[in-house]
């Protein structure tokens, strides 16, 4: 068990979901995975399966229909897990904050650990957010080990 805890922080798997964003942040999240920025050097792999994921990257202000999906994905992820809100819409609703269908921020739906601002969030900022998420993940792992 200790080995798993130790290695989790060295190779976290990442799940990305578009919760009603404009696409700008999503393509920047994908850009992080490609050669120029390459988050794989931190041992991070993009997965499509929530049951394999440790970090959840969410973009967008979340509408009512997407909220259910976001909640489902979050609940399907195994503990410990970290949520990163990417882009200003995910943090607070951004330019869409007064749209009738937008709840305004991921933290209205699920608990968020790291906020990455920007419209669209730059790949450097997203990588910084993910690295911070790793610290949170390490802290959560320690806490779980004590219990």
């Amino acid at each position: 068990m200790e080995l798993i805890n130790k290695s989790r922080v060295k190779s976290p798997w990442l799940l990305h979901y578009d919760g009603s964003s404009c696409n700008g942040c999503d393509i920047e999240v994908l850009a992080c995975l490609t050669p120029i920025y390459d988050v794989e050097r931190f041992g991070i792999i993009n997965t499509g399966n929530p049951k394999h994921a440790d970090i959840l990257l969410i973009t967008g202000g979340v509408n009512k229909k997407a909220a259910r999906v976001v909640k489902n994905l979050y609940e399907q992820m195994p503990e410990p897990k970290v949520v990163v809100a990417v882009g200003v819409c995910a943090c607070s609703g951004g330019v869409f904050h007064d749209c009738y269908n937008i709840l305004g921020g991921i933290d209205r739906v699920i608990p968020v650990d790291v906020y990455v601002p920007g419209c669209a969030a730059r790949p450097e900022a997203i990588i910084d957010g993910v690295v911070r998420a790793l610290q949170v993940l390490a802290a959560k792992t320690d806490k779980e080990a004590v219990v």
Binding site: A31, A66, C99, Y100
Partner: protein, 358 residues
């Protein structure tokens, strides 16, 4: 024989965005499907009525992060027509330049995602590495990587200087060389052909019947591209649409590959012939009346309907985007195909869900 219905999406590994299809399979064959959209609906058209018309430029840019410049340009063209503003020729040429580099980055993005959909990860990385140079160019000229905010009512917000134009020419030339190296792999590799040739057939008649637009329509043999209407500076630059006749996923990839080369050529031509003078004019007054604007977006025809009432707020803004028009054709193509080909065919329409649902 037993039938099962399984959901495709909203969260699916090949989709960067949430599209939901309920697909009914009989063994491995698709026999029926129904789409469900609404995961990205934000209500932008209504919000645009609450904001003042110059602020809306920033709002419509965020209809879609990939083709944000096209949205801003179409909106600005509409408002300019309502207010009778004549924009300077330099702005027209710069609009062509920005449109073409937006198209270039969108097509490279799609070619990468398409390669990823059939598991060719190396090609995905190659295309995205080439695309990064275009994003750097956008940052150099517009100040941002994806959402440029370069277009303003009355022209272009930030004029280019001689040094920037030189760099842009250099980057475009480099990208052309780079693509000469990558494109043959997309077009000739055995694995690519195995997964795309003959998959997702759409005949010329069906394309017209179901109202397909953009590269979808052109891959089925219809030479229709709104750039032929000569908005901005396309009339002066000269333009002929790219057409293929096979109507399968491979033909769609081929149209987009050829369009990337065409975009580079148009963007370079626009910079070479860039007229001297101001890049924007001052705007006074409020829009009144109604107008319809059509622009060729990377995915096809984009339509804006704008109605003003002489006040700072618009009375109605209606946006019709290309992916919405291409979904009926997708529903035509999928039945009868194999389960494993569904992701490739869905991706071949270049779905942009945030545009579709606004």
């Amino acid at each position: 024989m037993g039938r099962i219905t399984a959901p495709f999406g909203p969260q699916h590994p090949v989709l960067p965005e949430p599209l939901h299809l309920n697909i009914t399979y009989e063994d491995e064959k698709v026999v029926g499907l129904s789409p469900a959209i609404g995961y990205v609906h934000r209500g932008l058209e209504k919000t645009a009525e609450k904001k003042e018309y110059p602020e809306n430029v920033f709002l419509v840019e965020r209809v879609c992060g990939i083709c944000s410049f096209m949205h801003a340009m179409t909106y600005c063209m509409g408002i300019e027509e309502l207010m009778g503003i004549e924009i300077p020729p330099r702005a027209q040429y710069l609009r062509v330049f920005y449109s073409e580099i937006s198209r270039l980055h969108s097509h490279l993005l799609w070619l990468g995602l398409f390669a990823d959909a059939f598991g060719f990860e190396n090609l995905f990385m190659q295309y995205w590495a080439a695309r990064e140079k275009i994003l750097d160019l956008m940052e150099l000229t517009g100040g941002q990587r994806v959402i440029l905010s370069s277009c303003a009512i009355g022209g272009i917000r930030r004029d280019l200087n001689a040094e920037q134009i030189d760099t842009a020419q250099g980057v475009l030339m480099q990208t052309e060389e780079e693509l000469k190296r990558i494109n043959p792999v997309m077009l000739n590799a055995y694995t690519v052909k195995q997964r795309t040739v003959g998959k997702g057939m759409l005949s010329r008649e069906d394309a017209l019947l179901y109202g397909a637009v953009g590269p979808m329509l052109r891959a089925s043999g219809v030479a229709q591209d709104l750039r032929q209407t000569g908005y901005a500076a396309y009339r002066e630059l000269g333009f002929a649409p790219v057409v293929e006749t096979d109507g399968d996923s491979y033909a769609r990839a081929l149209v987009r590959v050829r369009e990337t080369c065409q975009s580079i050529e148009l963007a370079r031509k626009a910079l070479e012939r860039l007229p001297e003078g101001e890049a924007a004019v001052k705007v006074k007054g409020n829009p009144d009346g109604e107008t319809m604007q059509r622009v060729e977006q990377p995915r096809g025809e984009l339509l804006y309907y704008i109605k003003g009432n002489g006040s700072k707020n618009l009375e109605r803004l209606r946006i019709r985007t290309p992916t919405f028009a291409n979904i009926p054709s997708l529903l035509k193509m999928l039945p009868g195909c194999e389960m494993a080909d569904v992701p490739v065919i869905v991706l071949s329409i270049d779905p942009c869900i945030s545009c579709t649902e606004r």
